[in-house]
């Protein structure tokens, strides 16, 4: 299964033409997947982790602030209640019913405690029997009011905010006074709520944050900065009344993301609400998210660039090495082919040599016998005939020996050689061709040419290849080929073969030493020059070409005085 996957990824089984392209694509995709998936996972997890952590960090202070503020409010309200309760316990009903006394109480309350507006005593029937304050409320009946009823039930009462006659928000604080006869009187006071605002401003909230009080019906008990004024209905859906502070995330009427933290009062029907816009709360998170995003995309770009670039280089290397391997393989195959042809030629030459030797001896014996015998009819004719046989045998011998010599070219044998001699040998081999095609051969061979260490057979082969090519390029009767040998200034010798043939187009001159590159169509194998190139390179030399279309070509071979032995060993498949 795994092996199959690997095969699929690296296309080991198939060899399509665009194999390298697919391989490139597969590697890039896989590398991207294995690098980007973990990176993305990490970024996402980090994001959530940090967000959660940050939310806790933001919510916790909000909760504690809500708790603390609620406590302050409750403490303040409790204090007001205590004062009223203290008055109710200190003064007798008779004293409280006295207008002068109650007036005195209000005066000292106003002096000592902030916010008291008025104070009044309500009898068990609900009638206000005594009152000190700015309004003329004396005689008003409160029996139907919630404040009166609640006080009678719970013993004390703190009202929600209401607008008094002067349109200032107030709250009512009331305590019950139970007389010995069981009748319950109520002492009530009105308190100005401006101290609420003081408390809120003392909380020291962040900009854009809003703090206010509402009752359980969602009516503002204080002014809100953004959502309405006292006694208006709160447009937000608030968390239900709970004595423990709680928080929710929601959208407000302006579609802004906000955090609402609320805490319900135990002492009265009030809920403290803190509203903070998310944009403020999570400002640092957004900043981090942006930074993280930038880093993520930069890393992504770097990864992408690196992977594509590296894979490209890798594939190029693989391709080059594949091509190199294929070339070596081709050369090897060719060398093996040549080697087997060589062995075949050697075998044939050897087999022919034996009967040739017999013919030679028989004819020789005949000649001997003719020479030794007395004159007979047509003796000279017989002599001539046998001589003709022996000369023909001699010609055959030359051919077989040459064939054997050429067949040996596969084995590198480094020995001192004279290039000029080899050139003569090759020309001799091509004699017939030169003669029949009426070609002009100019030999411009240096008399002082240094002998070099190289391989006789291999050089012979190269020269034969180059001369055959030159002959193929020139026209019958007009063709002229010049072979020039000189001592090279610092590197052995040079052989220059110049022809006046058709020349090689610029377009293909780069490819002429490539294996299987041929312009001769079916007639050529495209191997001649590549073999020559291989041989000369192995012998430590250089071969290059200069050509003008329509004017001819010049092939130059430079051979060192001595080849590098390592190269020969490595380059020779036969050894």
């Amino acid at each position: 299964m795994f092996k199959k996957l690997i095969n699929f990824i690296f296309l080991l089984d198939e060899r399509p033409i665009n194999r390298y392209k697919s391989l490139n694509r597969n590697i890039v995709i896989i590398m991207l997947l294995i690098t980007i998936i973990p990176l993305t996972c990490m970024v996402i997890i980090n994001n959530f982790q940090f967000k959660t952590h940050l939310r806790d960090q933001i919510m916790d202070p909000l909760y504690s602030m809500a708790e603390k503020s609620r406590h302050t409010f409750e403490l303040f309200m409790d204090q007001q209640l205590s004062i009223i309760r203290f008055i109710s316990n200190t003064y007798s009903l008779a004293n409280l019913g006295n207008e002068l006394t109650i007036q005195k109480i209000l005066t000292s309350l106003k002096k000592e405690h902030y916010g008291f507006v008025d104070i009044g005593l309500i009898d068990p029937k609900g009638d206000l029997v005594s009152y000190a304050g700015p309004y003329s409320l004396l005689g008003k009946n409160y029996s139907q009011q919630t404040a009166f009823q609640e006080t009678r039930v719970k013993g004390q009462y703190i009202s929600n905010v209401f607008l008094g006659h002067r349109k200032y928000p107030h709250i009512v604080i009331a305590v019950e006074i139970v007389k010995n006869d069981g009748q319950s009187w109520v002492l009530r006071a009105t308190v100005d709520t401006s101290f609420f605002d003081k408390l809120i401003s003392g909380m020291g909230l962040e900009r854009n944050s809003d703090v206010f009080l509402v009752n359980s019906k969602g009516i503002f008990q204080t002014n809100s900065l953004y959502y309405g004024d006292t006694l208006e209905k709160c447009p937000l859906e608030l968390p239900g009344k709970s004595f423990k502070s709680q928080g929710i995330e929601t959208k407000d009427n302006k579609n802004q993301d906000i955090i609402i933290v609320s805490a319900g009062f135990a002492i009265a029907d009030y809920i403290l609400v803190i509203i903070q816009p998310q944009s403020v709360a999570l400002k640092s998170w957004h900043a981090l998210k942006t930074k993280m995003g930038i880093i993520f995309f930069i890393s992504l770009a770097i990864i992408l660039f690196t992977i594509i670039k590296m894979t490209g280089i890798l594939i190029k290397r693989i391709k080059t090495s594949d091509e190199h391997r294929e070339n070596v393989l081709t050369e090897l195959q060719h060398a093996q082919k040549l080697s087997s042809i060589g062995r075949l030629a050697a075998g044939i030459a050897h087999e022919i040599n034996n009967p040739l030797a017999i013919i030679n001896e028989k004819a020789g014996l005949m000649m001997d016998l003719i020479d030794l015998s007395k004159d007979f009819d047509q003796k000279s004719k017989f002599h001539e005939l046998t001589l003709s046989i022996t000369t023909s045998v001699d010609r055959c011998r030359k051919i077989t020996h040459r064939l054997l010599g050429f067949s040996k070219r596969i084995d590198f044998k480094i020995e001192p050689i004279q290039i000029n001699t080899i050139i003569h040998e090759v020309i001799e081999f091509l004699e017939k061709d030169i003669f029949y095609r009426r070609l002009e051969i100019n030999l411009n061979l240096s008399d002082t040419l240094k002998p070099i260490f190289s391989d006789h057979g291999q050089i012979q082969q190269v020269l034969l290849n180059l001369l055959t090519n030159a002959f193929a390029a020139v026209q019958d009767g007009l063709g002229r080929v010049e072979i020039k040998t000189t001592n090279h200034e610092n590197k052995g010798i040079s052989i220059k073969i110049t022809d006046n043939g058709c020349g090689i187009p610029k377009k293909i001159i780069e490819n002429i030493f490539d294996p299987f590159f041929t312009t001769k169509k079916e007639k050529g194998t495209g191997l001649g020059l590549s073999i020559s190139y291989g041989i000369i390179t192995k012998l430590g030399g250089e071969i290059f070409v200069d050509s003008k279309l329509g004017e001819g070509s010049i092939f130059t071979i430079i051979l060192p005085e001595k080849p590098n032995e390592m190269e020969i060993k490595n380059g020779n498949p036969e050894n």
Binding site: H350, N354, K362
Partner: protein
């Protein structure tokens, strides 16, 4: 004193070749014996004395180089001229290393062979005289 005829042993598996060559050499005043393979050649050398042996390198059975080695073990001084059908000089050179006097390529040029025989016998006698 009558000049003693030079005794030659020809070892070659090609009978046609070897008998004709022997006849030609006898016409030129040499005494020739022939052997069709390495083994019979060696047995002839161990029973008789020869002045020179002419040995083909390519033979069935015991090949030329091995025959040469055995000949050299029997008579180290006997000059041996090798014949080869190969264009390659490799076997010839190997034979020279073992102790052959020279090597020639088939088909032979009779006058070259005679020259070689003469110089081989001469070198042998100059070695033996003192």
């Amino acid at each position: 004193m009558e000049i003693q005829k030079i005794k030659i042993l020809l070892i070659d598996d090609e009978e046609e070749f070897v008998t004709t060559l022997a006849e030609r050499l006898e016409l030129r005043g040499y005494l020739c014996q022939t052997a069709g393979d390495g083994e019979s050649g060696i047995s002839k050398i161990s029973h008789q004395t020869f002045d020179i042996a002419i040995l083909d390198l390519m033979m069935p059975g015991l090949n030329g180089l091995n025959t040469l080695r055995q000949i050299k073990m029997i008579d180290k001084e006997l000059p041996v001229i090798l014949l080869t059908g190969h264009g390659s000089t490799k076997d010839g050179m190997e034979g020279m290393r073992i102790g052959a006097f020279d090597f020639l390529m088939k088909p032979l040029d009779i006058s070259t062979l005679i020259d070689k025989i003469k110089s081989a016998v001469d070198s042998k006698s100059t070695q033996e005289e003192p």
